[in-house]
Amino acid sequence: MTAADVTTALKEKFPQIAGRPSLDWPAFDVAPADISAVLKFLRDECAYDMLVDVTAIDAGTDKSPRFTVVWHLLSTTAHDYVRLAAACASDTEPAMPSAVGLWAGANWHERETYDMFGISFTGHPDLRRILMWEGYPYFPLRKEFPLAGIETELPDVEVAAETKAKVRPAPMMGGPFVTSSGEFGLGEAEPKAKDESWTERREKPE
C-alpha cells in the first residue's frame, strides 16, 4: 500500500489515530489500548506482513510520557514501510501489549526493549533480559545511564570471587567516537573522539 492508501485505510478504521511527523515513511501515534488491533489490521488487511523492529524512545526523566514504543512494519509485496508509535501510560512501570501473538519474531525484539528500557510487554511468553544478565540492576538505554556503564559485580558469584574482576565502566578515552561530516579528507571525517587532547599526533598534556 502506498503512503496515502495506508493513511486513509487507517483513518477510516481507527479514526482516533493521529499522524506523527516523519521524514521517510508514514508514521502514526496510537494509544496503547488500540495498538494490538492496529497491528493486526495492518498485517491482515493492508499486507504489512513483516515486523522489522520493535524499539523504544526514552524522552528523558523530566518528560511525560517518558517511554514511547515504536514498531516498524514492512510490506514485502508493496515494498513499503509504516511506523507506529505508542506512549506508555506509566513513567515508572512502563508496559505495552506484546506483538508475539501476531509475529513470532517480536519475541527477541521485545526482550531487548525490556532489557534496555525496562518496558514490560504483557502477554510475552518469556520476558527476560537478552544482552545483560538476569539480575542486572540497571536499564542501559535509559537517559540516566552513563554511556560507559556503571560498576557492578559479575553475574556469577564463584567466578567473581576467583578472578576478582568486576563489571567496570569501559574506558572512553576522550569521549564517544563520532564522525565529523563536512570534512574533506576521509582521514579527518572518520570517527574520532571528541576530546583529542592526547593522541598519537599531539603530545600528552601535563
Binding site: L131, M132, P155, D156, V159, T163, V167, A170, P171, M173
Partner: protein, 169 residues
C-alpha cells in the same frame, strides 16, 4: 645447498637406538607440536579461526587441527570473539575445566582489549578473567596472524621449564 642425502627420517643404523636428550626439550617438543585448541569461538573471529583450520591456511601443519570442544581434552583456549559480561562466567568456568598445562590465545581486538565495543555489556579484554599468553591484533586477524600467534606460543612453550606447568593457579 644440495646434498646427496635424501633421507629426512631418523636412521637407527647411523644414530643408534637410544637418544639422549633433556626432559624439558622432549616434553616441550611434545607439547608444542600437538597443541590441541579449545576454540572459544564467540563472534566473527571464529570464522577466521575456521579459515585457519581449513585447507588454505592449514593449522594441521602445526599439529593443532584437533579442535576439541570439550575443555577436558584441550591444551590451548583460543578466545576468538567478543566476550560479554554474560558470557564471561561461562568462559572462566570452561578455562577452569581445562587440565594443566594450558595456555590462552586472545584472538582479535575484542578478546584482547574489548575492541571497538567500549560498552557496558562487553568485557574489556579477556585477560581480566583468564591469564593470556599471546594476544593477536586484528579485526579479525588474518589466518596467517593466528598461525603466527600459534608459532609464538610454541616458542614460548619451548623456552619454559616443563614441570612448572603441572600446577598453576
Amino acid at each position: 645447498m644440495v646434498s646427496a642425502n635424501t633421507e629426512l627420517a631418523y636412521n637407527s643404523k647411523i644414530e643408534g637406538d637410544v637418544i639422549v636428550s633433556r626432559a624439558d626439550a622432549v616434553i616441550n617438543w611434545i607439547r608444542t607440536n600437538s597443541m590441541w585448541p579449545m576454540p572459544m569461538g564467540l563472534a566473527c573471529c571464529a570464522i577466521e579461526l575456521m579459515a585457519s583450520a581449513a585447507s588454505r591456511f592449514d593449522i594441521a601443519r602445526f599439529g593443532a587441527e584437533v579442535m576439541r570442544f570439550s575443555p577436558r581434552q584441550a591444551d590451548v583456549m583460543i578466545v576468538a570473539g567478543t566476550v560479554t559480561y554474560k558470557m564471561a562466567s561461562a568462559l572462566r568456568r570452561i578455562y577452569d575445566q581445562m587440565p594443566d598445562p594450558k595456555w590462552v590465545i586472545a584472538m582479535g581486538a575484542c578478546a584482547s582489549t574489548g575492541g571497538m565495543y567500549r560498552s557496558y555489556a562487553v568485557l574489556q579484554g579477556v585477560d581480566r578473567i583468564v591469564p593470556v599468553d599471546v594476544y593477536v591484533s586484528g579485526c579479525p586477524p588474518r589466518p596467517e596472524a593466528l598461525l603466527d600467534a600459534l608459532i609464538k606460543l610454541q616458542e614460548k612453550v619451548r623456552r619454559e621449564p616443563a614441570f612448572t606447568r603441572l600446577h598453576t593457579a
